[in-house]
Symmetry: C2
Subunit: 226 residues, 2 copies
Amino acid sequence: MTSKPTKAAVARKSGAKGSVQDEAPASNRAARAAERRAAIIEAALEEFIARGFAATRLDDIAKRAGVAKGTIYLHFKDKESMFEELVRLVIVPVVERLTKLPPPAGSVRDLVEAFASTFLREVANTRRGDLVRLIVAEGPRFPAVADFYYREVVQRGIGGMRMLIELGIARGEIREKGLAKFPQILVAPVLISVIWQSLFERHAPLDAQAMLRVHLDLIFGERRTT
Amino acid sequence: MTSKPTKAAVARKSGAKGSVQDEAPASNRAARAAERRAAIIEAALEEFIARGFAATRLDDIAKRAGVAKGTIYLHFKDKESMFEELVRLVIVPVVERLTKLPPPAGSVRDLVEAFASTFLREVANTRRGDLVRLIVAEGPRFPAVADFYYREVVQRGIGGMRMLIELGIARGEIREKGLAKFPQILVAPVLISVIWQSLFERHAPLDAQAMLRVHLDLIFGERRTT
DNA sequence: ACTTTATGACTGACCGGTCAGTCATAGTCA
DNA sequence: TGACTATGACTGACCGGTCAGTCATAAAGT
């Protein structure tokens, strides 16, 4: 195919930030469109996280994505629905990964620990973590986002945790019966980690994994040193 | 939106929101100025919490405070420093109340429980709680706010909790030694409550007090039935 | 009278959203 | 295969509304 640099390609390449690395030959139209869409989503996520919804400029998103502003409107109705769709687009795959993760084996504690560790690795220390903070920040102003997040993430998560806790109680691994009524307690330190990192990392970094271990010791009793 | 039939004088006399109660003749100048300043602060807090920093309009703050826009600029340099000062003004008295609260008596658990209950009552279920969410939301964009909050609230809070935990360990009330390294765990459920309420109250209200009790049972062992 | 405080109309930068025009590519035909 | 046309993805100048901040004027206080 043409190795001649197209105008668009040049613009994209010179479009700073280096966030999107040199991509494929940009074969057919549909593929290019998908690429651009992806670039817009990536750029928008970055900007929204950095500035919040209201303070984010569509011009900046466009520039970062190496695209003209008008192009954004070929993919999204307006700023608001773009934001809402964005949240869905980022969260759905994460939820999918996490829901079909645990092959039931070993003790409840191992299960919980494996699960939480995965979460910490995949979410807490990536941009996903900032997304959580973003949702906390913008949720009240975007009921649609809050609803979606509650339905897809919180409700499921709480439900799953409750099942694990009940299993743990039945097996005698967990002593505190009341925990089944508040699975939030199980999750709390993980969430705190996420928020802590994005606010106070530079003041005092927090070893989330270690904290998690202490917290699980609290719930399951002192860990036998395997 | 705010539809206010407003002449400033009328608004002031009728005590617009009922938040500022009808006060004395307000004879001297300083007193009136202080009043107006307080009204502005109150109004600004409300608006910032409801809309976030960027989306809040100074016109709305002025209207809510029953004051002309220009008046705001007699008290604050600009929107940004107003926001920062606001956070300080609201947080300082709360910190003061909490720091000189506990007259050391009884078990560590009682101390912690009393402290946390006070916090829940005074913060979680008031506008102060939303302020916490606001700080989480805007912190990254206002380093000054994040710094202040870390220094005045988080650092002190963590320090205090650590002392309590160490006391608890020394007295044998707390078994898990690792907790002293992560006082965040002690506080986590309280913070989660605050966030939960402001995001998901309408989906599923959360009994923060009950959750706190379960959490403390986890840390101090089953509660002795007094 | 004169100083201090308050007002709100006004300004100008800024930004979300639009749309007429461009041009690389896909499709068609010989 | 090469030439010509049709398509629609993409562009970016532009528009109109919005809003932080200003300042000439008015009111209040002494």
